[in-house]
């Protein structure tokens, strides 16, 4: 088993990153929040987690049971919020509900107040103008945004590094042509493409991802290309060439680790950029299909329902917390990779001149 071994540079960077309290705390907070949102189905759902009915076990979370199972007469999926069903369950057994008994698209039919209703014990952050629980939507929306950003960042990283790397490593004509093509490509208006797209297909998550991916890698190309251009003339790269290694191996083992510094520094900004773009598109109504848990749609609702400030405030707080955490993490990453922030390790004693050591065999 190869044990996890970090090169000394990586270890030093990790130490610098951990030393930056704000970034370190932000990273943990973000991971905790993301972890919670990954478990969204267990936390906010309109179905009980586990149920006992007539001496039988049920797992509504995993299996769709027809209404008839619980004393109803409809062959359709059981609605566990229905007062009749609830009464049946209370009589014949029990149900374990999630902390928030609403999913992101559950319409609460038993509200006593017109929607949007203000926060109360039933809806901790109130409901939106369609009577859906805001907290549930925020949890699901957070997950969706982060997922979108993750996939988009990973995709852009792959494309950006491949294209930038090829341009930078080979240089010359490859570089010249590649640069001109990326310039033309980056001239295409992304937003208009999305708006045009929205008029003839119903854009879903994957459509949006695809279109965004076509353009978001362009920012990385310049960074990666510059790093590769610099690194290809480093002596250890030339030594690898002289050793007869093929280009792909040299790029992978020797040049890429160099370029990763600049690239990793770029990632947090790609990430926040992706989240902001998705939110903006949703806000404008060109984004995810209606009903999706989207933070942008929440912003739009907040704007349309100024009489219900909990909508706007929730959207603002959740977005700003998420983006601030990411920016702090990014800042910490940038500092960790900045050679000026890495102090000389105290153990690195000045190298001893070798003259005295050589006396015996020198004579």
């Amino acid at each position: 088993m190869p044990r996890l071994s970090l090169s000394p540079i990586a270890r030093r960077r990790l130490a610098v990153f951990r030393h930056n309290r704000r970034a370190w705390v932000s990273l943990w907070l973000f991971l905790v929040l993301f972890g919670i949102s990954l478990l969204a189905e267990l936390i906010a759902n309109d179905k009980p987690l586990v149920m006992r009915y007539d001496g039988q076990w049920y797992a509504p979370l995993l299996v769709d049971y027809p209404d008839m199972e619980f004393g109803g007469f409809l062959p359709t999926r059981a609605d566990y919020h229905d007062p009749f069903t609830q009464q049946q369950i209370a009589e014949h057994g029990w149900a374990l509900w999630p902390v928030i008994p609403f999913s992101y698209q559950t319409l609460d039919m038993q509200m006593r107040r017109p929607s949007p209703s203000p926060p109360d014990s039933r809806h901790w952050l109130g409901t939106d103008d369609q009577g859906r629980d805001v907290l549930a939507r925020v949890i699901y929306g957070f997950r969706l945004s982060v997922f979108f950003a993750l996939v988009l960042t990973a995709g852009s990283l792959l494309l950006g590094v491949v294209f930038g790397g090829i341009q930078g490593y080979f240089g010359g004509k490859t570089d010249l042509i590649g640069q001109r093509l990326t310039e033309i490509w980056s001239g295409l208006p992304v937003l208009f493409l999305l708006i045009i797209l929205a008029s003839f297909v119903q854009p879903n998550l994957w459509w949006l991802l695809g279109i965004m991916l076509l353009f978001s890698w362009l920012g990385l190309v310049d960074v990666v290309r510059a790093e590769f251009l610099r690194a290809r003339n480093l002596e250890y790269v030339r030594a690898a060439k002289a050793m007869g290694l093929p280009s792909r191996l040299i790029m992978w083992r020797h040049v890429l680790p160099n370029a990763m510094v600049a690239t990793l520094t770029f990632i947090p900004f790609l990430f926040t950029g992706a989240i902001t773009t998705l939110t903006a598109l949703d806000f404008l109504g060109f984004g995810l299909p209606p009903g999706s848990p989207s933070l942008g749609e929440l912003v739009a609702q907040g704007k349309n329902n100024l009489q219900a400030p909990w909508l706007g405030i929730t959207a603002f707080v959740s977005l700003s917390v998420m983006l601030s955490l990411l920016v702090f993490i990014g800042e910490g990453l940038r500092d960790a990779f900045d050679p000026r922030h890495i102090q000389f390790a105290p153990s690195a004693s000045p190298t001893a001149p070798t003259a005295t050591r050589m006396t015996p065999n020198g004579q």
Binding site: E235, Y236, A242, M243, G244
Partner: protein, 530 residues
Amino acid sequence: MVSDSLFRLEDFSIEFDGVPVVDRLSIEIRPGETLALVGESGSGKSVSALGALGLLPGNARVSGGRWLEDSDLDRLSQRQWQALRGGRVGFVFQEPMTSLNPLHTVGKQIGETLRLHQGLSGRAARDRTRELLTQVKLPRPDELLDAWPHQLSGGQRQRVMIAMAIANDPVLLIADEPTTALDVTVQQEILALLAELRSAYGMGMLFITHDLNLVRRNADRVCVLYRGREQETGPVEQVFTTPRSEYTRTLIDAEPSGRAAPLKQRDTLLEAHDLSVNFSRPKRLFSRRPSPFVAVHPLSFTLSRGETLGIVGESGSGKTTLAMAVLRLVRSQGEVHFDNERLDTLTGTTLRKARRRFQVVFQDPYGSLSPRLPVSEIVSEGLRFHHPELSESEVNHRVQVTLEEVGLPQDCASRYPHEFSGGQRQRIAVARALILEPELLILDEPTSALDRSVQKQLVELLRNLQQKRGLSYLFISHDLAVVRAMAHRVMVLKDGRVVEEGRCEEVLGAPQTAYTQALVDASVLTVQSG
């Protein structure tokens, strides 16, 4: 306190975060005198000079007494310090390429020191600057006033630096390795200029260097440092003829010695016919492409098995380009035969397979090893590619054997390059080449970034390897002392042309051309024999 000394350090110590770097150093410089501070890299010589003038970062602690003329430097205010640096004390640094601001003209940079310290501006500053440029013997001072640093050569930039240093009539000039980055012939001119200015102004000079031979020619007294500790101080002649400390003796003896073992038979391995390298210049829009720059003019040479051909020349003479052409790393014209096979027509996979047989060791031991890989990976990389059939344990065994062969400690395979000194790193680079069992090793200035004593060890190692394995070396260097200890034959290059060629002893002993003569004069060889 009144004394005839100009600059004095007494029990001067420097610590970095509690780690002592300079330990109770006491030196004294009198007016018109040059004191040389000598030591190998890491001995604390530059740090002492910077520390004495309060130029160290915040984590350094300085203690002990320091005086310039009769002012106690420990009692100066921030403002007085600023007046002192560049005013009464002038600095010349090692790296002329980076010590000038590339975005300001030469005249402006010199003018700035004049404005800050003497309040000169406009025409007066310009006149004084011109005067200074004449003093440091720069040609065409009127034109150079408005020149940008990149338009000047290394030697010229160093002259500009000197002009800045003497602009305010300093009493003390600190020259920190002022000639290390320059060609040998230029070195001599710069040192002569410094000596002339010193006596003209009656300045004291603190001359920091690692090169004992420069000290012998250019200093009055010398102070030898070893790991921040003063080893001995005294007049140059006395220290050189009767060194008191053990360390000084090893330093003086550290000159590469010995000669290459004579060849038993001639069996040609490498042969170049009319090999030349051209670099095309960029083409302007709507204009003809200018004629290409010829880095190496057509030249021919042969190299036998077990032989070392030294390629000598100053920077820009095309010696590294020639090596890259032989390695097929730059495009070249002409024929190269390696073991009776055409090398210059190989491409793609065949070329990559053939590369196993000719390897290279580069100049910079810090740049030629990937900092992210442990030594075992660095050394085994080529082996894994060229011999994929070897098992993991066989590869590890080969790595161990090779590392032992180049004299590295047992445990170093799992360590990273930054844990090694320059000389050790160069050994790793040699191991990386050797593990492929090449027949030809191209050594591109392998010793020039190392201390003298380490150079000597490396030269011995390379000679032993040649004996044992029958390797052929193409040894590129500007340092004639090292070349003499390594090469069977020598080829002297100037501006891409062969100036002189022949047996090592003959060429270096009785140079036929003025250029070779100048190189020999400038290098240490004459001092040693004289």
